[in-house]
Amino acid sequence: MEDKTILHLQDLCVSYVQTGHEVSVLKNISFSLKEGEVLSLLGESGSGKSTIAKTITGLLPPSARIKSGALTVAGHLRVNLTQRAILWNKIRGTVLGMVFQDAQLALNPLFTIKEHFREALITHKIGRASDVLPTAANLLKLLGFTEPGKVLSSYPFQLSGGMCQRVCIALTLCLRPSVLIADEPTSALDATSQKEVISLLKNVQRELGVAMLFITHDIAVANAVSNRVMVLNEGNIEEVGETQDVFSRPAAEYTQKLLAAHSIRTTVSAPQGLDAKPVIDVVDLNKAYSKNNSVIKDLCFSISEKEIIGVLGPSGCGKSTLAKCIAGIEPINSGEILYRGKNLVHLRGRMKRELCRHIQMIFQDARASLNPRYTAIQLVQEPLNYLNIGNKKSRKNKASTLLKQVGIDDAAKFRRPPQLSTGQCQRIAIARALTLDPKVLICDEAVSALDVCVQTQILELLVHLHMEYGFAILMISHDIRVLRYLCHRIAVMQCGAFCEIDSTDAVLSSGKSPHTKRLLECVYEM
């Protein structure tokens, strides 16, 4: 089979116009895609990888300006991207198909799956009206559905996230595009669904011989999926080449940085002789949102002083709810939560605030946890204001000291969250949590929303602060890499209970419970 170039992009330059000034997002991007090949666009947020996809399908918002760029598709379709009126309908769907990150939102909630297929096929006049259902059913079977008929008569809200994404892939492929553009197709799914969707995607791509442009921020996924990879950083191409070559012998400094950040190994050793006295004791914890909706069932475990313990589990297993219950912001149905022997469950008002200050929490969406109207230094002083500790001067000093420790320089101290990066926001959240000298810090997926390089920085910061202040850490995450780096012990959670809780090495090397084994299988190793 001859390796024909199915897509070629030449010298693409794109910028966005925001509140008056222009920001350059893509600088001289050129690449080619061969027939049947999978090319990964790998980069962190802001690198411009999504912009490339939106440009070649004409889906850029009105604030975007295309400075230069020429697109050649399927050999004969040449498009000058700087033109105002481009006949996109010749390219969209039948030549370039696109799959989006949030599959459930990508389907019309009031149309059945059947209607989506019918509309797409009839509009593009592919086959007769009577062929619609069989075509759709065959594609759905290719994507792992055993009963396509039921799926076709369903509405999107009746399907899970993974199922919706598979439906979207089938829907895009039914138009027989030459190139499939997948924009972070699995980033919104949990680990098991992700693995499922990716393997099905690979299968169907190989069977139908569709070239694929796979956009992702996850190195391991790019490694597993693609033939070639293109590394992007701030609108520039850092490196492009065969996947194996790029990842085993990275030429660009940026690629090396990404690889290093991805494969962090533990530098923290378990502290000698962990205190026998636990700082947190959870006894027979039960929480249910309604009669049939039990989220946590009879949970028992303890956290020792200065220990770092991780909770691993898929989304919906109840780990976030557990974090909120221990932090005291979610009421529980029965059981006890003891902080250094004192029961927190029935406390109210001032007593509760006095005791609960020792248990602090940082959240997944750092920006959302900060009030955007206050400056960094005001935010860090917030808890001292709430509990009336010290005076104005002492609060300011403490805030300044903590901000310096987390790496926020003097210039950033007086900025507000909208003017700060996500990483900086998380640092401020950490500093704020430490203001009250907590003995337990709960991190609810605190690094999941961060780019991999920033992730590493924040994790290293947590380790550093842990050594200095000696608080225990409860780390909630779905990402095994993070827990492997950070934790002394790991608890694996499923459906509201711990199916396993042991030292990190024990859990990760030979997971005893079948659930753990399944979770470990879903991790892509390099």
């Binding site: 399908t57 889906l59 996109w88 309908n89 390219i91 969209r92 769907g93 039948t94 198909g97 696109m98 989006f100 949030d102 939102l105 990508a106 389907l107 019309n108 909630p109 009031l110 149309f111 509309e119 797409a120 509009t123 593009h124 792992g144 559905f145 055993t146 009963e147 039921k150 799926v151 369903s154 509405y155 809200f157 009746q158 399907l159 899970s160 993974g162 199922m163 979207c168 829907l171 895009t172 138009l175 499922e196």
Partner: protein, 324 residues
């Protein structure tokens, strides 16, 4: 879903009960002797101290059960309401229920015509405004909307009446309710109530056009018409509930319009009765209006449940369908 329907029904009945209770309390709180209120002030009538008058007083006294406690009085009043015994008009001496029944068709005619005009103009101009958002046509439509939402209905009515009836003698000034006289009051009402709908349709469509499923449909190469079909279906759904709110405003509007155009509907009738202190009529009107509003809201809620598939059936497909 049947459980929800049942719950809504019970809720509506409870609300109806409470509303009638509130009415009852308001009426009892009014200053003056309730019998005088029902019969009209003796000073206005020439028949005071006649046996007929005394007989009426005794009859009413028994009927209203004024010697019994409040709860029993309410119970008796409620019983009469349910059997549509709304009392007798002071002014005409006829039964209130009959007089209201005579005038309902006129109001119904006007209301339906007005709703039709409102719906058609609302949807059409709302869609145009959304498609041409930001352009001149959109600004013009929005300007019209703001203007007609700022002018009182009676001003528009009077101006139109002045123009068509007095100056040009096209429109007949009389007290009839017929098709030939329907167009002017219906247009007035429609004009005043359309802006709200236009605004809502426009906002809904624009909001839908920003959703991911629209971008996804565009990426599949669907033409503009198909995209609008997607957006419209989702945008129109909440309009149904808005129509219920609009219905309440329509009732208010119809009182004024009927008054100006001498349209013989229940609004006009009630209005005149207020000025004539014809209390049984007003009471009957209030009871009917409140019931109609509650029923309309209930119907709209049920209709919405019927057309939104997310509310219709909540079952999710089993995970077992997938290949593990």
């Amino acid at each position: 879903m049947c459980k929800t329907v049942f719950r809504r029904l019970i809720g509506a009945v409870i609300t109806l009960f409470c509303a009638t209770l509130v009415l009852f309390i308001i009426i009892r709180l009014a200053p003056g002797d309730p019998i005088e209120i029902m019969l009209g002030r003796p000073g206005d009538l020439a028949i005071k101290n006649t046996p007929a008058y005394e007989a009426r007083v005794a009859e009413l006294h028994a009927q209203l059960g004024l010697d019994q406690d409040m709860l029993t009085q309410y119970g008796q009043w409620l019983k009469r309401l349910v059997s549509l015994e709304l009392g007798t008009s002071i002014h005409t001496g006829r039964e209130v229920s009959i007089e209201i029944a005579e005038r309902i068709p006129a109001t119904l005619m006007l209301s339906l015509a007005a709703i039709l005009i409102q719906l058609v103009s609302g949807v059409v101009f709302g869609i145009i405004s959304a498609i041409r958002a930001g352009k001149i046509l959109d600004h013009v439509i929005r300007l019209f909307c703001v203007f007609f939402a700022s002018v009182p209905a009676f001003v528009i009515g009077l101006v139109l009446l002045m123009f068509f009836a007095v100056t040009y003698h096209i429109y007949e000034i009389s007290g009839d309710a017929n098709i030939y006289r329907l167009w002017l009051p219906a247009i007035t009402l429609g004009l005043v109530s359309a802006p709200q709908l236009i605004r809502m349709v426009r906002a809904n469509i624009l909001s839908e056009l920003g959703q991911t499923y629209i971008v996804s449909a565009i990426s599949r190469g669907l033409p503009k018409k198909q995209i609008m079909r997607h957006a419209l279906k989702n945008a129109m759904l909440p309009i149904v509930t808005m129509m219920a709110l609009s219905f309440t405003n329509l009732i208010a509007g119809s009182v004024v319009i009927e008054s100006i155009f001498s349209w013989p509907g229940i609004g006009n009738y009630a209005m005149n009765s207020v000025l004539l202190h014809d209390y049984p009529v007003i009471q009957g009107y209030a009871v009917i209006m409140v019931s109609v509003v509650i029923m309309a809201n209930l119907l709209v809620e049920l209709l919405y449940m019927l057309i939104d598939p997310r509310l219709r059936n909540r079952s999710r497909l089993e995970r077992g369908l997938e290949n593990e």
